[in-house]
Symmetry: C2
Subunit: 263 residues, 2 copies
């Protein structure tokens, strides 16, 4: 069990991992692998603790830190007032506790494919909230992993972690590179690649047979590129009412996961 | 065709309908029927124009207002700079145009039921974004209307309108009162009421037979009340991976709409 540490003031260098988090969260240009993994709130911190990411430290109000203390590895657990915590992180954190962890190497695409029956493949999902929601839906609906094509945001970004309710920490993900040529590897693992698109010539989702399937979804605005659709084995659509804009990308993906993962 | 009006400054009383919208949007306590309906952006303004709500006025930058002008009824169309518009509404509006309309009487529950095969029934959906998303999903997936039980937010609130992409303006809705006793009316119209719940004794969604169905969903946190579940005809669940929190309410509803409305 870890021992609690009571920093004297918000300027204490021991708190540097937790400093100005909202600023960092607005820098999507940060090179991958450099930012720390940040978990907010008891639920997500617990999910971090059971993930492969090595936890560096915990910061929170006394009640929250004490609640988690028995589960913590031997890392510093900093206790402050809510006000001092807000001063350090740069905003009021109503969940009362957060933890930071180092990134660790991602699994190989091969490993994810070897142990999945359904995977998600994303192209151009650059919005951290959509990406987080998509991981939450993938976790709930039994998707084995998420493969990131060109133009995707970083799943370990603070906002994605939060919106996913920590599910980015347990649904494995890896990048497909080159894109979309790297999709051949998915096919070699026995997956059919189903591009989700509102195109009228796509077949209804419900008519897809069972078997290993990779659900390929694109960004909400432009959708999948022609190259990505061409690299897929089939094009599938969710039957929709006339004249309605497409669904949000995470919602459309959830419907596909539900339909295809349930079998 | 309407004629364009160029107000001299942001204080001009002719712009009062558009004033301080972000403040108004933070007052969920406002009695229903008193706030104006506000549509932001060309897509949502067009949806407002084809809705039953009587448009009062339009405000936007020149390019956006001119684009819409041929479709506008005989109402004032105010043209300002982006800066002046921001000063009036209280925030920067990157969609460049908005319209306000009066509320109009909602349809009766009876009318909605008479012309639908699938309806959504909500309890305690008090979050405007979830409510807006839910309407967007209902529109896309062919749900005939939304019935509001106890504790639901106002679908015509600005944030709900925006998140729904204007679909609150075209999916009919009405309140069920008293709650949940008023559900009897739904049943008398030949609907079975299916409560969506993660309870293990609920039947999987995919085993629900066809026919008229009312999908009953509760708020994200506490879920449906025991009274609401007791008032339903059956309890249905989305099969989910172990140890995962439930899906977002709008996403769960989308899956139910997809499964039940497609038949």
């Amino acid at each position: 069990m870890t021992s609690l540490i009571y920093p004297r003031d918000a300027g204490d260098p021991c708190l540097d991992d937790f400093r100005a988090l909202s600023t960092a969260d607005r820098r999507p240009d940060r090179p991958g692998g450099r930012g720390l993994v940040i978990a907010e709130g008891t639920v997500v911190v617990r999910r971090l603790l059971s993930s492969p990411y090595p936890v560096r430290a915990v910061l929170g109000v006394e009640r929250r830190v004490r609640e988690l203390a028995p589960e913590l590895p031997d890392v510093p657990a900093y206790v402050t007032s809510a006000e001092m915590m807000a001063e350090v992180v740069g905003f009021h954190l109503n969940r009362g506790v957060l933890a930071v962890a180092d990134r660790s190497p991602q699994p190989q695409v091969d490993e994810i494919l070897a142990r999945s029956r359904v995977v998600a493949v994303l192209e151009g999902v650059g919005d951290h909230e959509n990406l987080g929601s998509l991981f939450r839906n993938a976790a709930a609906l039994g998707v084995g992993g998420v493969l990131l094509g060109a133009g995707c945001a970083d799943p370990l970004y603070r906002r994605s972690v939060r919106v996913s309710m920590g599910n980015v920490l347990r649904v494995p993900f890896a990048s497909i590179d080159p894109w979309p040529a790297g999709l051949d590897l998915v096919r070699r693992h026995g997956f059919r690649i189903a591009a989700l698109t509102p195109r009228a010539d796509a077949i209804p989702l419900s008519s897809v047979d069972g078997g290993k399937i990779a659900v390929l979804v694109g960004s909400e605005g432009p959708g999948l590129t022609a190259e990505a659709i061409a690299a897929a084995d089939l094009a599938v659509r969710i039957p929709m009412a006339e004249g309605v804009d497409s669904l949000n990308v995470a919602t459309a993906a959830a419907i596909a996961f539900y339909e295809l993962a349930e079998r």
